[in-house]
């Protein structure tokens, strides 16, 4: 089968983008990707837009039509892809399917979110509306789910609170060298442990910021890619899965079954095992999530991911670098953009163009999560 290639990537500056609204952000990333690849907009067959809540945040719906209009890609087929925080990963899945099925010869995926014009309280509330009614009525937020599961994880596995802080320290350090990151500033363990409690035992610095931004990827078949450029990577494995909508119904609360199941599909398709992964971008919306994913993706045994962080295994110069981009923690988490930006980082790592963040990698894995593990997409990419 002709493999699906990614022939170009782009992302906007992530951060507080005052004056730039969702249409501006999506167009900025899209046009940058179009210019980078030299693809004429009229020759793009499918345009997917990964976005969770532009209607709720900004009062702008129909953003996929807006983008096709704004970049001159009419009459391309288009759709907005919403899988909450995993919208970016779901967009990659849709783009991959469009090429693999032969329905599209050239597909553009753009993920983005505009969030910082709302208050933190309102942004958190908009995201909280993804929860089930029986949990929503208790005032549950995504941060409070993270607090509940972090509390249990620390208790059950006798894990150190410092290990969670070290995830933040590591990712902030990586983000310093990422020019697109929201925060390019190191933090130390004391700063994390002394920051205000948000959802006990998690503190402010255990959480990613609220961020504006957009990222884009251009997809085509490998046979087509070879005629256009030598600079491409291939998707060799991809899988998506869901878990219970009601978090208290989970089989085992410290295991993200959607991550387990989506990654099993991706590993099988790519004919890879966790040991084959050289670099990974994980969904560290909260520090605890990076540790849970590192276990549920099979990198470490259950209950031992925190030890790997403490031992520096996941540092940029460690055995398995995780979140060389700075992760959601320092790069920021513009919901629909995050999964796309994960693959933006892996593209550069596999192409050898990651600059100061460069690691030795031929195979990369991205895991994008929606809700508190309600859904997940795992993507495996390889250099040629």
């Amino acid at each position: 089968m002709d493999r699906v290639a990614i022939i170009g990537v782009s992302m906007t500056q992530f951060g507080v983008r005052e004056g730039s609204w969702i249409r501006d952000l999506l167009s900025e990333a899209a046009m940058d990707c179009i210019e980078t690849t030299g693809i004429v907009p009229k020759n793009i067959d499918h345009v997917y837009v990964s976005n969770m809540a532009s209607g709720e945040f900004e009062g702008q719906t129909g953003i996929m039509n807006a983008l096709v209009h704004d970049i001159g890609a009419i009459p391309a087929y288009t759709a907005r892809i919403d899988q909450t925080s995993a919208s970016g990963g779901a967009g990659i899945y849709a783009a991959w399917q469009s090429i693999a099925s032969g329905q599209s010869d050239m597909t553009l995926l753009v993920g983005g979110e505009k969030m910082t014009h709302t208050s933190t309280s309102m942004a958190t509330e908009i995201i909280s509306t993804l929860t089930h009614p029986v949990e929503y009525k208790h005032g549950v937020t995504l941060p409070s789910f993270a607090g509940l599961i972090a509390q249990l994880y620390l208790h059950k596995y006798n894990a150190s609170r410092e290990s969670l802080a070290k995830v933040a320290v590591k990712n902030h350090k990586n983000g310093v060298d990422n020019p697109h990151a929201h925060f390019r500033k190191e933090v130390d363990i004391e700063a994390v442990l002394n920051s205000p409690i948000v959802a006990d035992p998690l503190r402010l610095y255990d959480f990613c910021p609220i961020t504006d931004g957009s990222a884009a990827l251009m997809f085509c078949s490998e046979s087509r890619a070879k005629k256009i450029t030598q600079d491409y990577v291939v998707i060799t494995g991809i899988g998506g899965a869901t878990d219970t909508h009601v978090v208290h119904e989970r089989r085992e609360p410290t295991t993200l079954d959607a991550v387990v199941n989506s990654s099993n599909k991706a590993y099988e398709m790519a004919n890879k095992t966790p040991n084959d992964i050289d670099v990974a971008e994980l969904h560290d919306m909260f520090t605890i999530l990076e540790i849970l994913q590192s276990e549920d993706l099979g990198f470490f045994n259950k209950g031992e991911g925190w030890k790997a962080v403490e031992q520096g295994v996941t540092d940029i110069d460690g055995e398995l670098p995780i979140n060389t981009s700075g992760g959601l923690k320092s790069k920021g988490h513009p919901l629909g953009a995050s999964g796309v930006a994960q693959v933006h980082e892996l593209y550069h790592q596999l192409m050898g163009t990651a600059g100061k963040r460069q690691v030795d990698a031929k195979t990369g894995l991205a895991c994008n999560i929606g809700g508190f593990g309600n859904c997940a997409i795992t993507t495996i990419l390889e250099s040629i």
């Binding site: 029986v134 009525k137 937020t141 409070s144 607090g147 249990l152 959802a199 219970t244 119904e249």
Partner: protein, 124 residues
């Protein structure tokens, strides 16, 4: 209206909360049988204290996942804690609350769901 904490029981005896169309464990249609947990003790599996709750929610908002054992099975529920502090392993009883949050200030339409339910009180 009953103020009991009722969970749902499928024809094969499996418990779930909330109600599903089909039993999450065996896949049969659920039917309308319920079992009350109101007189039973539950155990706190985990908890958090949320200091920045959404609009219309009490602050701080202590939340817990509580496990009950009944009819040879375990069932877990999420709810607020009425005490000022709580620990993993604490024993709790459910208490009915007519309005768990002020829906007027939330994003979700007030008419789209119910707002009454149960919190838990520590009874160690």
């Amino acid at each position: 209206m009953s103020t009991d904490l009722n969970v749902h029981k499928c024809p094969n005896g499996h418990l779930c909360y909330p109600k599903h169309s089909v039993c999450p464990k065996c896949g049969v249609l659920m039917g309308n049988k319920t079992v009350s947990l109101s007189e039973l003790n539950g155990t706190v599996v985990t908890w958090t204290k949320s200091t920045v709750p959404p609009p219309g929610v009490r602050s701080p908002n202590i939340l817990a996942i509580v496990e009950y054992y009944i009819e040879g099975q375990s069932i877990t529920l999420l709810g607020g804690i009425e005490n000022e502090s709580v620990n993993i392993g604490d024993v709790v009883k459910a208490t009915y609350v007519s309005s768990l949050r002020d829906a007027e200030y939330g994003q979700r339409d007030e008419e789209s769901q119910t707002w009454s339910g149960h919190r838990f009180k520590v009874v160690n």
